[in-house]
């Protein structure tokens, strides 16, 4: 297992190099000088020279990249250009918020999607299945910002059940965290519910049609044991893959949803930084996203081997 982890980690290195290259290149894409981009056309010469120095723009590109990677590798993401804060401090504050939102969203997707998928699979092509399948088709196609606005208007403003804006993490108390998380988490889980339902349905239909199911029936096992133990276990590889990918897509969904709910997470930070051309923050957040996605993929890969005895 350790050796496996080693080889997998080694395989991540090229991806990581490519990612850092792209992220570093962000500020050099486009015709304008990064310092001018940051300060605007009317900035004074001295101010521009100052920012050029601060961003290290006077060195050759390779040197700049090398220095940047060297700093980033030690956890130093630089300082924000707009705020007088370290990027790592900003991310350190925003990450738990986004993580709470993503994990809640994924949990809702899984808790609703898996039973719905199983229900649809055991009633394949009958009324329940058709209802679930078309419901999930609608689920994926609802735009998140629209759903967010509708829910804010109805649940938060009209009924006053939960706050319409802002956020609270677990450190602010469980009740408070729950009231702030439930609505945005439901919004980011929406397409996830649909995706999980559809994938679980497909995997379960396949598992329930496997010849081994006939053997289990011939042994006299109850149908619910066959469905919930054997078929579900045979679908585990699909489920783990879907849930892993779901973490990634849900992370993407938080960008818009955090803005609509005014949640101070990574998504709001990156949008704010993008409009202010605060490159160190953009780079820091994007790099964090990349690391999360790579970590998830690594976990999926290792989980496969634990789940499926045939992969060794």
């Amino acid at each position: 297992m350790l050796r496996l982890l080693g080889t997998r980690l080694a395989a991540v290195i090229p991806t990581l190099l490519f990612a850092t290259f792209t992220i570093f290149g962000l500020q050099h894409i486009g015709p304008a000088d990064p310092a001018t981009l940051v300060l605007g056309e009317n900035a004074t010469e001295e101010r521009i020279a100052e920012v050029r120095e601060q961003l290290g723009l006077n060195d050759p590109l390779v040197v700049q990249y090398g220095k940047w990677v060297g700093r980033v590798a030690t956890g130093d993401l630089g300082g924000s250009i707009i705020r007088t804060e370290q990027v790592s401090t900003i991310i350190g504050r925003a990450l738990p918020t986004t993580a709470q939102l993503v994990l809640s969203g994924v949990t809702i997707s899984v808790l609703i999607g898996i039973p719905l998928g199983i229900l649809a699979a055991t009633r394949a092509n009958r009324a329940t299945d058709v209802a679930v399948t078309s419901g999930s088709a609608i689920g994926v196609s609802i735009p998140n910002f629209w759903l967010a606005l509708v829910l804010i208007t109805a649940v938060a403003i009209n009924w006053g059940l939960v706050p319409a804006r802002g956020f609270a993490t677990l450190s602010d108390g469980v009740g408070e965290a729950f009231r702030h998380t439930i609505l945005p988490a439901f919004v980011v889980s929406m397409s996830g519910i649909a995706i999980v339902t559809r994938q679980v349905r497909g995997a379960m239909i396949e598992a329930l049609n496997a010849p081994s199911v006939r053997t289990h029936r011939a042994k006299g096992l109850p149908w619910r044991t066959i469905v919930w133990k054997h078929a579900l276990r045979n679908s585990a590889v699909t489920i783990v893959t879907v849930v892993g990918l779901l973490v990634n897509t849900t992370l993407g969904a938080t960008v818009v949803v955090e803005s609509v709910f005014a949640i101070p997470g990574m998504g709001s930070r990156v949008i704010g930084a993008a409009s202010a051309r605060d490159f160190p923050v953009i780079q820091g957040v994007v790099l964090t996203y990349v690391l999360i996605v790579l970590a998830i993929n690594l976990i999926i890969d290792i989980a496969y081997r634990i789940i499926d005895p045939r992969i060794s």
């Binding site: 496997a210 010849p211 053997t215 006299g220 096992l221």
Partner: protein, 332 residues
Amino acid sequence: MIGEPLLEVRDLSITFRTPAGVAQAVTGSSFTIAPGERVGMVGESGSGKSLTGLSLLGLLPPAAEVSGEVLLDGRNLLATPERELRAVRGREVSMIFQEPMTALDPVFTVGQQISATFRAHRGVGRAEAKRRAIDLLGEVGIPEPARRFREYPHQLSGGMRQRAMIAMALVCEPRLLVADEPTTALDVTIQAQVLELIAQLSRDRGTAVLLITHDLGVVAETCDRVLTMYAGQIVERCSTDDALEFPRHPYTSGLLAAIPRPGVAAEDLRSIPGRVPSPVDLPPGCRFGPRCDHHQPRCDEAQELTEAAPGRWVRCCRHAELDLPGAVEMIG
């Protein structure tokens, strides 16, 4: 046959509605199996053997429309609710299948799968079920049963997998074992070993067996009686010796000519010319008629299974006048 039969199948018919019409997969099948008796069921692909076997566990596909009776100790399994059938399956009647790799669950260990059957029916604890499973793995000739218990199906060879399937089927000491082509997927040398194992376990434990195969040679070595199936009908039902020595139905005789045997090269084996009719488009008269060398105009009437001699039933109007070659003449 002496005494009450363990199993009695009466006038079993199985049909499917398909886009091409009604498929008559099994038509008017009747036979019995006595306790401890080994009965072979032979026939070409599509003759309805597997469906007949599945019906003995009440395991027909949901789309199947079925009539007739499958009586186990006088109780009709076709009219037994699913809940009660579960207590029959794996405990009274077990089944093993052709392809042990796919028939076993790939993500559970062999031991878990055997124990699960025992626990489901006997309600015993994990430890006791494990002990029982390891004993049985040993009895079916698997070396190092305690180690094999922990292994997954893909870690076993084909022959070992089928032995594990047999252990799983016999763990609750059922009275009837349905073996659907249990050796077809195995190497020839392994085939003989597995057949011998089934026969020996059946003798030692008094387990009745319905052995389904397309190879009459397999039946010859293992079974007391044989049912020959053609296009969903039993065309001959008699003792194995009778079938081998003096087959009364031209189809049985044709199958005998196709048995691989020493001294006859594979290409010299006479396979029956022509194809099995489609179950949606069966000939109105003798279903074997279009392929039969002995066909006459009166064969175009529906053929009944009639008693040609005590214990010998044949579905052929010409059975008394034909002198068909058996296995003995062919070897001689």
